[in-house]
């Protein structure tokens, strides 16, 4: 493989991986705090893509000309609305189930996922939607036929996801809210005894997860330009895989898992075969878990006897 192809594939892998990582955060944080696989998270991401397009179109229809302003406003609006969805879903479908069997919220989540998908289909129609290519700038490196061409949005994806990750890590490690989150994650009952409003913390985690998915939604919509009500499913499963690969419950693990998954998909489909890239991704997951049963950055489970 030529160097320029390899570099191009690495960029592809990194952008895809960053997106997986951002969405994986929602899975990993929710899992960490209440031990539940939130299958509706992929659809929250799908929702954010719609909100992005709606916000952009509304802003343009009001005659907003400044692109940076429009993008920023869209990002904020999307994060707010998607986070509200995250909060509401937790409040309605998961909180009443707290304290029952571990699997009850899982089934509820599947129900929520159906509701979101079909709700969006009913209100927005089933056809593929899109936004125009707003930032057409591409960066080109190299001469003649041997060049690497990257869109500015791809660069943005990598930068924005890394900085969101950094901000989130800071939030979790350094702030009081983060401490409360970590305490709740370690021992929910003890945290409640110490006066932490654990219900609020759990809600916050859903809000953060949804907000991260919203960032991913905005970036993806800008980059690929099209989406439909079904995109949450495929991406959701991949992001969840990424979360587990990195060690579910671990924030850096989610990002690492996302990047590894993205890179391995890109490199496998580049060097071997695109048909089997998902088979490869899942096999990679199985292999990693056989040799590291708690994922790459997951804390090794010490059996409490």
């Amino acid at each position: 493989m030529d160097w320029h192809i390899l570099v191009q594939q690495l960029v592809n892998g990194l952008t895809l991986g960053s997106i997986y990582g951002l969405i994986a955060i929602g899975y990993t944080m929710v899992y960490g705090i209440i031990g539940m696989i939130n299958f509706a998270h992929g659809d929250v991401y799908m929702l954010s893509a719609y909100v992005t397009a709606i916000c952009l179109a509304t802003l343009f229809s009001f005659g907003v000309n400044s692109l940076p302003f429009a993008l920023l406003a869209t990002l904020v609006m999307t994060m707010v609305i998607t986070a509200t969805y995250g909060w509401t879903i937790e409040r309605i479908a998961y909180r009443p189930l707290r304290g029952s069997t571990r699997l009850a919220p899982l089934i509820s989540a599947i129900g929520v996922s159906l509701v979101l998908q079909n709700g969006v289909q009913l209100s927005q129609g089933a056809k593929t939607q899109g936004v125009p290519s707003l930032i057409p700038t591409t960066l080109r490196f190299g001469e003649g036929d041997n060049f690497v061409q990257i869109t500015l949005v791809q660069v943005m994806i990598i930068l924005v996801s890394l900085s969101s990750m950094a901000a989130l890590t800071w939030l979790i490690q350094r702030t009081s809210l983060g401490r409360q989150c970590r305490a709740t994650q370690q021992d929910r009952r003890m945290a409640a005894i110490l006066g932490i409003n654990t219900d609020r913390i759990i809600s916050t985690v859903f809000v953060i997860g949804a907000a991260m998915a919203a960032i991913a939604g905005v970036l993806v919509t800008l980059n690929y330009g099209s989406f439909d009500f079904y995109i949450g499913f495929v991406t959701g499963i991949k992001a969840f895989t990424a979360a587990v690969l990195g060690g579910i419950g671990s924030l850096p693990g989610a990002m690492l898992g996302g990047l590894i998954l993205g890179l391995s998909e890109a490199l496998f489909s580049g060097m071997v075969n695109t048909d089997y890239k998902d088979v490869f991704a899942f096999s990679l997951l199985v292999l990693v878990l056989i040799f590291r049963p708690t994922g790459l950055l997951g804390k090794p489970e010490v059996e409490k006897v």
Binding site: V51, S61, S100, A104, G111, G119, V120, S123, T241, V286
Partner: protein, 436 residues
């Protein structure tokens, strides 16, 4: 509002407070609903433009606000409070019920009645409802199989559909390449599925809880993708035809296809496409009955007890000398085998299979059956399987809102009965002179 309570001044003050509270909550709900539904429902994308449909979210938000208001008031009335209390009390019930030994007689009559109804139903139902019943029976079988893995052994398997696929493709490909018929493929496909379960299970069953879930999910996807991609062998997305069942060489077709004699010719009756489905239904019913019997016995056998013990506490099991990996593996293989049998029936009933029938949603649906059934309750699984397969068909009346309503009902059912429709039951033991 309770008319009697309003009379005294103290209660009037209280009701004022309650009322104000309710209004505030309703306003908050209205604002929230507007934020949630405003953009998604009210602004419809049309190319790169927006169609403004504000008339849609407003009624939704209003309904939500009014509902919130009424609920906020209702929980302060005596009846509302009693209802809330009942609702919560039911949710607090312990999970398991120990039943006495004398229950048997009454149950026998129920059992007889159900068997009688199940046997007459196919002769009364139209073809559509007959196919729905067959479909439901297949899910009963799947539910029973997964119940062994999830409900009894406590292993969350999100890729159960893989074994279903192995069974279905076992029949279809077995017929295509090895010239197997339905009845010879049935045991072979079941064994093949069990073998798959063993091979997949052995390396991963040491994993804990949800890691196992994601690995099985991965396996499910891998099998589906391979079935889809391996065009030369499986036909890929084009699918494969599966043979119809035969009764001692009699075919249920209008004219003989595979060199047999058509059923209706042999018995000198008019051809009726229903015959084939009635036959599948009866065969399936037989297998389901057999499976219920097997599962009931298994639960009271050492291996079944070990499964449940493993679900309760794996560490304690190991301390009792039980090889947890092998016991898990036996549950996994047993479940896989049942899944394989269900797959064979699915393939023969459809006559044609392709990988889209074996996607992740299918696995999720089967897990939902087991959880809704009450994790471990055989009756519960049967009821849940019937509910979750017949419900979507009943909901076809809602046309476009069918799947949406199904999702809503799934959430509501979980909130209503988080521990499932049925409480699992345990048998009491009797030993001479000791039992009270």
């Amino acid at each position: 509002m309770p008319p009697a309570a309003v009379s005294s001044p103290a209660s009037r003050v209280r009701w004022n407070l309650v009322f104000r509270q309710a209004v505030l909550e309703a306003a908050a709900a209205f604002a929230l609903a507007l934020l949630l539904f405003g953009p998604i429902v009210g602004l419809v994308l049309d190319g790169y433009q927006i169609k403004n449909e504000w008339q849609r979210p407003l009624p939704i938000a209003t309904i939500i606000a009014v509902g919130r208001f009424l609920v906020a008031l209702a929980v302060h009335t005596p009846t509302g409070q009693a209802a809330l209390e009942r609702f919560n009390a039911r949710r607090r019930q312990p999970g398991v019920l120990v039943v006495g030994i004398s229950e048997g007689d009454r149950r026998r009559w129920w059992l007889l009645a159900v068997v009688a109804i199940s046997l007459t139903l196919p002769f009364l139902a139209s073809k559509y409802w007959l196919t729905v019943l067959i479909q439901a029976m297949i899910y009963v079988l799947l539910g029973l199989g997964l119940n062994i893995v999830v409900g009894l052994a406590g292993l969350l398997d999100l890729g159960y559909v893989a074994f279903y696929a192995v069974g279905a493709y076992g029949l279809a490909l077995g017929a295509q390449y090895l010239d197997l018929g339905f009845w010879s493929a049935l045991p072979l496909a079941a064994m093949l599925a069990a073998l798959f379960g063993g091979v997949l299970g052995f390396p991963v069953l040491r994993m804990h809880g949800d890691y196992l879930a994601i690995v099985t999910l991965g396996f499910g996807e891998i099998i589906r993708l391979v079935l889809n991609n391996w065009l030369e062998f499986t036909g890929g997305p084009n699918g494969v035809a599966a043979p119809a069942p035969q009764l001692f060489g009699l075919e249920f077709t209008r004219t003989a296809r595979d060199g047999g004699v058509p059923f209706h010719d042999y018995f000198q009756i008019a051809y009726n496409p229903l015959h084939r489905f009635i036959f599948i239904y009866l065969a399936l019913f037989l297998i389901v009955c057999l499976m219920v019997g097997v599962v009931t016995r298994l639960r009271n056998m050492p291996v079944g007890r070990a499964w449940e013990a493993l679900r309760e506490d794996e560490i304690a099991c190991r301390a009792l000398g039980i090889n947890h990996v092998l016991v898990k593996l036996s549950a996994f293989m047993m479940g896989a085998m049942v899944g394989g049998i269900a797959g064979v029936f699915f393939a023969t009933y459809q006559g044609f299979i392709n990988p889209t029938s074996f996607n992740f949603f299918e696995s999720a649906l089967i897990v939902a059956i087991v959880v809704l059934g009450g994790l471990g309750s055989t009756t519960g699984v049967i009821v849940a399987a019937l509910v979750l397969t017949i419900l979507p068909e009943l909901l076809r009346a809602f046309a476009d809102y069918r799947v949406f309503a199904f999702g809503v009902l799934m959430v509501l059912m979980m909130i209503w009965r988080p521990r499932g429709l049925m409480r699992p039951r345990r048998r009491a033991f009797e030993v001479k002179g000791l039992c009270p």
